[in-house]
Symmetry: C2
Subunit: 372 residues, 2 copies
């Protein structure tokens, strides 16, 4: 992908996730899933077909739309475990927020108000839960994230899965259900059009994507996770900054009378997620946000050029909101009022489909992204 | 718990799941979760408080109730892996059905029609998905279970979690969202009353609970999973009979004008699940269903007396429906029309709270069950 990479460059695939092996299954599963949509008619409902391939699945249930999702934390808990061994601190309150953010930030892309979160905490054995400090931190962080997003924590599962989950580890996920109400809040992209502005909301760091790469990188650092990325801030602590919860912004936008035309949660595949919608639009970025120290640090130590970095990591932008140009500055103001930095970063133009990050001279085309 | 057990008896705790370690976390989590219910008011909704502690969480969203859940398969996939190694067959189509059944059979207890299922397939590495036979079986079984339950498969997650999930293994779960529509279908137990009949629906075998015990038992069998439990039926094949999907029955009951007063999905804790509802009722069982060969086999080889067996395994009854006595026989007829054997097994009486399994001389009291 990157002809200027030196042999020292660490790509995402080198870090242990091989999408070529997963993708055939995904395609088969997506086809089979799509073929089940007709069952909704038996109950008097229909799917919103445009939500297939989007971050959350949407069903028209009459008075409003129903959105649902399940999302995995990924491998970030392994960093928390390493840092706990090094510092004695428990990071599971932040890990809980990360897990909920993975679900909530996806659910809101379609215009949904998150209502109920369910917890999926699958441990490698009953012993995991016996560490009271860690367990209480997980519960407290989960509760606090629900409070921030004003969702009800409905319940969940806490299985002990010895033989499936590794001893001493935990597999964390969250499911989330919400409503798109009123139905005019639906933002699956049919209103996305040339002239729209692209507003980027700041990330807090790596969030919960790119951790396989970040963990692999530790092998290259003489002080490992305790290497400083900024004065007084270790690599491990910086990685563990909890993912920003963006639903307070999307709810405040609704309260302010602003309806996004589309949203993209910038997770795996980095900024290529801006190309998510299938329409033939060009996305021209004229301003990029400040890059958090830990992401700069990863880019430098992984030997990635900008193109590789922006195609893998969020590079300071955790969430993208596409709004009418007239709403762009107000969208920034609404986000800031919620304590989240934002900027008007670019605009949508007539196609061909591509992303131009002008300040960095980067272009991504459709061949750079097979997400759907 | 069982004073007549010999030292050879294998209990669930001996099989490796220690609820004493998990339960303090569960209590803390349940309290924290309950404290989040007030957030729904910000969106104009309220929780159905009686659903706290039930198998699915219910929110009143106005025109209908919204129910949601996430459920884990547990360790049954380990049996599939062992049997694959012994026979070369893939059992993942059945495993897919088991996983969906765990979610659907819980969701329907509150009166919900399942609408959307999300898949959570977390593998120990990308390589898991590269086995095309296994992957295709998982997809095909998942699709077929959705077809049987007439739910839309919305999407899901297929993470590769090396370092968290063991190499070569997969952690399977499903989330499910449904509606209780009309609202009179809500069955969280407020209508449960003395005089109601208890109808038990047949299980297909062990379903997906008690597998830790069943796996532990293999060490005692000279031919392991290939030991016959009945002529031509190996222990492994019998264990892997897919869990019955009960939503066709609950949907057919609604179509027949029968509204259950309460339902119990008989999973972990076996028949003690009949004591799930907090009200002070006595549940008197006068007839027990036939016990499937694999459950008889487990009971015998684990050295369990009836009390231990019925407190751990489903013993032939996978799902309990509590209906008005006048509806009891029709409920059986409706289930049979869906191809699922059923019987009127007993009735609800004025308390104290206890379960009497008269044909076996077994009594379970409240001290035998802390589920909520």
């Amino acid at each position: 992908m990157n002809p200027t990479s030196t042999p020292a460059t660490l790509s995402y695939e080198q870090a242990g996730v091989n999408y070529d092996l997963i993708d055939p299954l995904k395609v088969t599963a997506q086809r089979a899933a799509a073929a089940t949509a007709g069952h909704l008619a038996a109950h008097g409902f229909t799917e919103v077909a445009a939500s297939r391939g989007e971050s959350a699945y949407v069903v028209d249930v009459g008075p409003f739309y129903l959105a649902s999702i399940v999302e995995c934390l990924g491998s970030k808990a392994l960093v928390a475990d390493e840092m706990h061994a090094l510092t004695g601190k428990s990071y599971y309150d932040g890990i809980a927020q990360d897990t909920i953010a993975m679900a909530i930030n996806d659910l809101i892309t379609v215009g949904a108000t998150p209502l109920v979160v369910q917890a999926y905490w699958a441990a490698g054995g009953s012993e995991w839960f016996a560490d009271a400090q860690r367990s209480q931190a997980l519960v407290a962080g989960w509760k606090r994230a629900c409070d921030v997003c004003r969702v009800a924590w409905g319940g969940g599962e806490t299985p002990a899965l010895a033989g499936i989950v590794e001893a001493g580890r935990i597999d964390l996920a969250a499911s989330c259900t919400g409503l798109i109400n009123p139905k005019t809040r639906l933002s699956v992209g049919d209103q996305l059009a040339p002239g729209d502005a692209i507003v980027l909301l700041a990330s807090s760091g790596i969030h919960a994507n790119g951790l396989s790469l970040a963990r692999k990188l530790v092998e290259r650092l003489p002080q490992g996770y305790l290497t400083e990325v900024a004065p007084g801030l270790t690599y491990g602590d910086a990685l563990l900054a909890p993912t920003v919860l963006y639903s307070p912004v999307t709810e405040a936008l609704y309260a302010a009378g602003i309806t996004p035309h589309y949203c993209a949660n910038i997770t795996g595949h980095g900024w290529r997620k801006l190309l998510r919608h299938p329409a033939e639009h060009r996305y021209r970025i004229h301003s990029v946000p400040a890059v958090t120290p830990v992401l700069k640090f990863i880019q430098r130590h992984a030997g990635q050029d900008d193109r590789e970095a922006y195609s893998t990591l969020n590079m300071g932008a955790g969430f993208a909101i596409f709004v009418a140009a007239a709403d762009a500055q107000r969208t920034v103001d609404v986000a800031r009022a919620q304590g989240i930095e934002a900027l008007v970063a670019g605009q949508v133009e007539a196609g061909p489909k591509e992303l131009l990050i002008e300040p960095l001279g980067i272009r991504f085309g459709t061949d750079d992204l097979q997400l759907r």
